[in-house]
């Protein structure tokens, strides 16, 4: 017994000694080159993202006394990794990229990112230039991030397949019924020659969010009866072999990019980030897709004006733990300004500030489709966020994903699935 006590006391002493060492060793700002300020920027996928380096080059050219260092946290669970890093309180990050809304909401709740209102007021930044997106991410009138990329969803289509079938290309004002009919018309062949009329990646957004385009519903508010026609349309296409089977795609983790590029899909709904991927293919010398693909606006419900679509914004913020907040703000201000937008647009990526000049810039890039409809599709009507801001968005997202998975794999009927979705989301909304 006495020995046990001794052991514990000794262990505690040892622990204190060890932690003492650590306590003295941290909290030092890393030394940089003489007179230069180094800002650390949290990003994902440095290797496959075209715009990081041009942005940094443009900023460093204007500010020779500042260097920007990127740290790649990987794309799969970027927001989780970022939260974990910032939780240490002594993280090295000054500027952080915000990838999705549930993650943004978490960082705001956890006080891990800085309220930018004072900076915005001081530098007289007009948030109207972001086309209304900042209203959707302000928390009680406070903005904790400014958007620099604003993606929206369009329908990509394979011109070669339409030409071969002798069928007219899709248009910028398709209704869902016309879209469904076109997909059915474009389906042909068997085995290796099979052409699918349309394609839905395994994300819930690809199906569920058709339902919010009429502006009458939000995805975080039950009841979900309004999703029924869209689930029925997609399941009907799946049953008839118009699109690939969800279970097959999911079990083999098939990426949409390869599916579209190998020419077995006539139409695919996907985010505008895929435009930059296609353009890069041309730059890399892989064939000439400018002749073989095009984009049109998202289909719309009967009685709703065409042009509404889903939006995803990528924004920048400043870490609460940063010791160089003012320098970090200067960089954020540059990237989210019209000047930064021009740099982003030059890589084929859609910046948060859209103007006719930006649309012209992207549409004139080698590799972008040359037809007028594709250029017109870059003009967005109303963009609804894929996930609106809410305290409970993380938990709601889990339920939406789970039930989507069950419906698409026929483990639950559409009616029962939507009922279950409504019941479980309501339960999350009711608890605090």
């Amino acid at each position: 017994m006495r020995n046990l006590k001794k052991t514990i006391v000794l262990a505690l002493v040892a622990l204190m000694a060890v932690f003492g060492v650590f306590a003295n060793g941290t909290a030092e700002t890393p030394a940089t080159e003489k007179g230069k300020t180094e800002l650390v920027w949290a990003v994902w996928d440095i290797g496959s993202t075209a715009y990081y380096q041009p942005i940094i080059d443009a900023y460093e050219a204007k500010h020779p006394d500042v260097t920007i260092r990127m740290v790649d946290l990987g794309s799969a669970d970027f927001m989780t990794a970022l939260q974990t890093q910032l939780a240490s309180g002594s993280s090295e990050f000054d500027v952080v990229t915000i990838k999705d809304i549930p993650g943004y909401n978490n960082l705001v709740k956890k006080n891990m990112i800085v309220n930018l209102n004072d900076y915005i007021a001081k530098d007289k930044i007009d948030t109207k230039q972001y086309g209304g997106t900042t209203e959707q991410i302000s928390v009680n009138g406070n903005l904790y991030a400014l958007p620099f990329r604003s993606d929206f969803w369009v329908v990509f289509y394979n011109k070669g397949l339409f030409d071969k079938a002798g069928i007219q290309y899709p248009t910028n004002d398709m209704t869902f019924a016309q879209y469904d009919a076109l997909a059915r018309k474009m389906t042909s062949g068997n085995g290796a020659n099979k052409v699918y009329g349309c394609h839905y990646h395994t994300w819930r957004s690809c199906v569920q969010l058709f339902g919010i385009l009429d502006g009458k519903h939000t995805i975080i508010q039950p009841p979900y009866d309004y999703l029924k026609p869209y689930y029925e349309m997609v399941l009907g296409e799946q049953n008839d072999g118009i699109c690939q089977n969800y279970a097959t795609l999911k079990a083999s983790s098939i990426h949409y990019s390869g599916q579209f590029q190998n020419g077995s899909i006539a139409m695919m709904n996907m985010g505008s980030w895929y435009i930059a991927t296609q353009i890069q293919k041309v730059a890399a010398g892989e064939a000439d897709p400018s002749k073989s693909w095009g984009i049109v606006k998202y289909p719309h419900a009967e009685g709703v004006a065409p042009g509404s679509t889903l939006g995803t914004i990528t924004s920048l913020s400043i870490s609460q733990g940063s010791k160089k907040k003012d320098a970090a703000w200067d960089f954020v201000k540059f990237v989210t300004s019209p000047e930064g937008a021009a740099v982003v647009a030059k890589t084929g990526t859609i910046p948060a500030i859209m103007s006719n000049a930006v649309v012209d810039e992207i549409a004139s890039m080698p590799g972008f489709p040359t037809d007028g409809n594709s250029k017109e599709a870059l003009h967005v009507g109303k963009a609804y966020l894929e996930m609106p801001l809410s305290d409970k968005s993380g938990q709601i997202e889990t339920v939406l994903n789970q039930v989507h998975d069950e419906i698409m794999t026929y483990n639950i009927s559409v009616d029962d699935g939507l009922k279950k979705m409504g019941k479980e989301v309501q339960k999350i909304l009711d608890t605090n």
Binding site: N3, K6, T7, L10, A11, A14, L15, V18, T80, Q83, T84, A87, S88, G89, N106, K109, K110, N111, M112, N245, Y246, A247, T248, K250, A251, S252, S253, Q320, G394, Q395, T398, Q402, V403, D405, E406, T409, N411, I412, E424, K427, T431
Partner: protein, 295 residues
């Protein structure tokens, strides 16, 4: 006085020998564990900028009406109850077979052990391809044999858990086979000779000599397997991502979600403690059972 001093010195030497291991254990295991026990009674979102609130047993009470937790609890039990006996029996059968003098014995032993050492990510990807509901070879073969509607495996609520269990048994039986092989080789051959003289047939020898002689190994295998099954995460993450719906959501998966997706460290810790209690109770029962059979 001097006696006490020398004793203290002796102790100090002994402590210094265990110190390297103990310090590592204390920092990376003991402190987080104690912290988790405290967190279970707090409401905290994991942010160093936000305060912690003491909420008593509220986190535990909430679990009782938490659909995700209830599903995870049930699935974890089902997974354990199915995986443990299957793995144990398969490992024992393989060990007995590969303990005989057959041609290519070492080759087959390697083959059986291979899944255990192979990278989880790689073999899970292969498994997913084999059991792909649409175009996987397994279902093609089943269709070839005239099965009209082969199972949807990882995409079917009723088969997803079976898929996970199958994979786990296949992945881990090689390791436990090695343990059993060691046990088999430790059995005194004279016991078999004596059994032969008494006129035992092969089955009787297995039942009356091999099984009782392996009881210590079986006990060890059982304890390790049960603990391993209760804390399953990687297999589920790789094969079904807890789906379809919540069909294969297990407790560790839910704990991860609660802590890192919902930022609710209190309820995550509460669930972790429930898992800890579950493993503790089952292991205590096993030890008691072992003592009884020895007595």
């Amino acid at each position: 006085m001097t006696a006490k001093k020398t004793e203290f010195k002796k102790n100090l030497v002994a402590y210094s020998f265990i110190a390297p291991n103990f310090i590592g254990f204390a920092i990376f295991t003991l402190v987080p564990m104690v912290f988790a026990f405290i967190l279970a009674f707090l409401d905290w979102d994991g942010s160093p900028y936000n305060p912690m609130h003491f909420v008593g047993f509220k986190n535990f009470a909430n679990l009782a009406s938490d659909d995700q937790f209830l599903a995870a609890f049930k699935n974890t039990i089902v997974y354990t109850v199915e995986t443990v006996p299957l793995t144990l029996i398969m490992a024992l059968i393989l060990a007995v077979l590969l303990n005989q003098k057959i041609k290519g014995r070492d080759f087959f032993r390697t083959v059986c052990f291979f899944p255990y050492v192979a990278s989880m990510v790689a073999v899970a990807a292969v498994w997913n391809m084999l059991f792909n509901p649409g175009m996987g070879p397994v279902n093609e073969i089943l269709r070839g044999f005239g099965v009209q509607n082969p199972p949807g495996w990882s995409a079917d609520k009723d088969w997803a858990m079976t898929t996970i269990v199958q994979f786990s048994v296949w992945k881990y039986m090689g390791y436990y086979m090695i343990l059993y092989l060691a046990g088999l080789q430790g059995i005194n051959p004279e016991l078999y000779e004596a059994a032969n003289l008494d006129g035992c047939n092969g089955w009787q020898r297995f039942w009356n000599v091999t099984i009782p002689q392996l009881s210590a190994t079986t006990f060890f295998v059982l304890v390790m397997l049960v603990i391993q099954c209760f804390k399953v995460y990687d297999v589920v993450y790789m094969i079904t991502q807890a789906g379809p719906g919540t069909a294969t959501l297990v407790m560790v998966y839910d704990i991860y979600n609660k802590a890192f997706v919902y930022s609710s460290f209190g309820s995550a810790s509460a669930e972790a403690i429930v898992l800890f209690a579950l493993v503790l109770i089952v292991t205590l029962i096993q030890f008691r059972g072992q003592r009884k059979t020895e007595a």
